[in-house]
């Protein structure tokens, strides 16, 4: 006699420690196996794009800090880059270098948080403690640079707000050397671990075609073996001057995504190192008009965010405020594949898959 089974509807979130914020996933399970999954977003919808229509371009910068709050500097870079491109403004050399340095340090900080929280999700507590101690050092560097710990508001259209305080460059160099050593330790701690490998190898697999069809970008796309990084393919700022490799995976499973994150930290360290060596003296703020008026028209520009292509689309009527501002938020786009990934998996893999897609809810909901 067959055992009668019933499908069960289950809510994961919005208050759940492993959904990285307030994502809610409604899953239908048959025993342990997921037969249907649907992410419910919007629990953190703060109306950033609507608010931006009422703000001058400089006033929008602090709001971008709060989009992807793990990578505020990169968000700053996206919006100031877009306005500069639209207005055809020059940025001083020193400012460009500083931008690259802080953006890459921020990428490292963001990937470190991924590393810590992902392992926390999988049940390993100590990496979380390690990486937050490490991240604290980056945050301290930023704190000395601009006086904030999370929401930096550091970049301005035409440059950056503050020059480095005394000794900052040396400190940053020391940190790079320090983290290089630490990375080996992380690999030793986690990467070869049997339990960890069993939980991530071959889990949550997708191929390049699916990823492209779902407009995925960033590590999610690169983990499938497709070489696409805006820093190389469409160089913005001064990224074309630095020597670094684009990290690509092979199989597009959770393990590859994890490895891509860690290897990307190493590449970012390389960029920071070069930028710190090359940084010239000079002003950090270029000549910009007092009131920024973007000429009428539509503009799009994108940067490689910590989670993928972070685009800013400006529709301007020639005023000092945008008519419409749209952020292409990589977390939101990457999340769309989740239902497909989850179907057929067991319940315990849900967190492993969700964690590896690496979303930040501030960015998903905006």
């Amino acid at each position: 006699m067959a055992i009668r089974t019933e499908e069960l509807l289950m809510n994961i979130g919005p208050q759940h420690p492993s959904t990285h914020g307030v994502l809610r996933v409604v899953v239908k399970v048959d025993g342990e196996i997921i037969v249907d999954a649907e992410p419910v977003v919007g629990y953190l919808h703060r109306g950033t794009e609507k608010l931006a229509e009422d703000l001058q371009y400089t006033q929008i910068i602090p709001y971008t800090d709060r989009l992807d709050y793990l990578a505020s500097m990169i968000n700053n870079h996206a919006i100031v880059g877009a306005v500069e491109k639209a207005m055809d403004l020059e940025v001083p050399e020193r400012a460009e270098h500083l931008r690259v340095i802080v953006a890459e340090l921020q990428r490292i900080a963001s990937h470190l948080v991924f590393f810590g929280t992902y392992l926390l999700d999988l049940g390993a507590m100590s990496p979380f403690l390690y990486v937050f101690a490490e991240r604290e050092k980056i945050i301290d560097l930023f704190n000395r640079l601009c006086g904030a710990r999370l929401t930096f508001n550091y970049m301005r259209v035409g440059g950056v707000k503050w020059d480095t305080p005394e000794g900052w460059v040396e400190e940053a160099k020391q940190f790079v050397q320090h983290l290089k050593k630490q990375m080996d330790m992380y690999h030793e701690l986690v990467t070869g671990n049997e339990i960890f490998l069993n939980r991530v190898k071959g889990i949550g697999k997708f191929d390049t075609e699916t990823a492209i069809n779902f407009a995925m970008s960033g590590i999610n796309l690169r983990s499938t073996g497709f070489n696409w990084d805006l820093r190389k393919n469409k160089p913005y700022s001064i990224y074309d001057r630095f020597d670094f490799d684009v990290v690509v995976g092979e199989n597009g499973d959770c393990y590859d995504r994890y490895m891509c994150h860690l290897k990307e930290i190493e590449q970012s360290l390389r960029i920071v190192e070069q930028a710190l060596d090359q940084i010239p003296e000079g002003p950090v703020m270029g000549k910009v008009p007092k009131i920024l008026r973007v000429p009428a028209g539509e503009y799009y520009s994108a940067v490689e965010g910590a989670r993928g292509e972070l685009g800013v689309y400006i529709v301007s009527e020639g005023k000092d405020k945008p008519y419409r501002l749209k952020f292409r938020r990589p977390s939101f786009v990457n999340l769309q594949l989740l239902p497909k990934l989850l179907v057929g998996q067991s319940m315990s893999n849900l967190i492993a898959i969700l964690g590896a897609v690496d979303i930040v809810l501030g960015e998903v909901d905006a």
Binding site: L44, P62, R66, E136, L361, G362
Partner: protein, 183 residues
């Protein structure tokens, strides 16, 4: 309970002056290692030193909360350990923006927590809407949904500020047990 030191004669050991007892009696009790308090005070002392907050991180402030809980600032030394289930928590740190969609869930989580319970509003969003006060989808402060005990300003508050706020909450718990009104 306050420890009194005889400044005139530093040789004399410190003692606790109990309410309703003379100085000599208090000294004698202290010497014998006896402490007198109401049961409420003892309970409050225990509670305030083992606050278990719910992990309710909705937005950016949550990252600072995680940072405070991690190795560098280490909330564990105050007996503060994060719990993921409201049934096990006795304090909720609202770290982040509360949207209108989130508000009913916050209320439900609060209702699920066992008494006694306290609420800390971390950051300007949870205090009064913060930078999103003009947004159509954001609740202008968590106190519109549930009663808040401690407000911590900042966007986001730095970890020392969060620790200070939590210390204030501990103080409040102890003072309230003595029958003092704390606002």
């Amino acid at each position: 309970m306050e420890v009194t030191k005889n400044t005139a004669n530093p040789q004399e050991p410190a003692y606790v002056q109990f309410e309703g007892f003379s100085k000599e009696e208090s000294q004698e009790l202290s010497k014998a290692g006896v402490l007198i308090g109401t049961l409420e005070q003892v309970k409050a002392w225990a509670r305030s030193n083992s606050l278990w907050p719910l992990t309710f991180a909705t937005a950016c402030c949550g990252i600072e909360m995680m940072g405070t809980g991690a190795a560098h600032y280490d909330l564990d030394r105050f007996g503060i350990i994060f719990r993921a289930s409201p049934r096990q928590a006795d304090c909720i740190i609202i770290a982040g923006t509360i949207t209108k969609k989130m508000a009913p869930i916050l209320k439900r989580l609060y209702d699920q927590m066992p008494e006694p319970k306290w609420v800390v509003a971390m950051g300007s969003c949870a205090t009064a809407g913060g930078p999103y006060v003009r947004a159509y989808s954001v609740v202008k402060g968590a106190d519109q949904i549930i009663p808040v005990d401690v407000y911590i300003p900042g966007c986001p508050p730095s970890p020392p500020a969060l620790i200070y706020g939590l210390n204030k909450l501990q103080e409040k718990i102890r003072l309230e047990a003595k029958g003092k009104k704390v606002r």
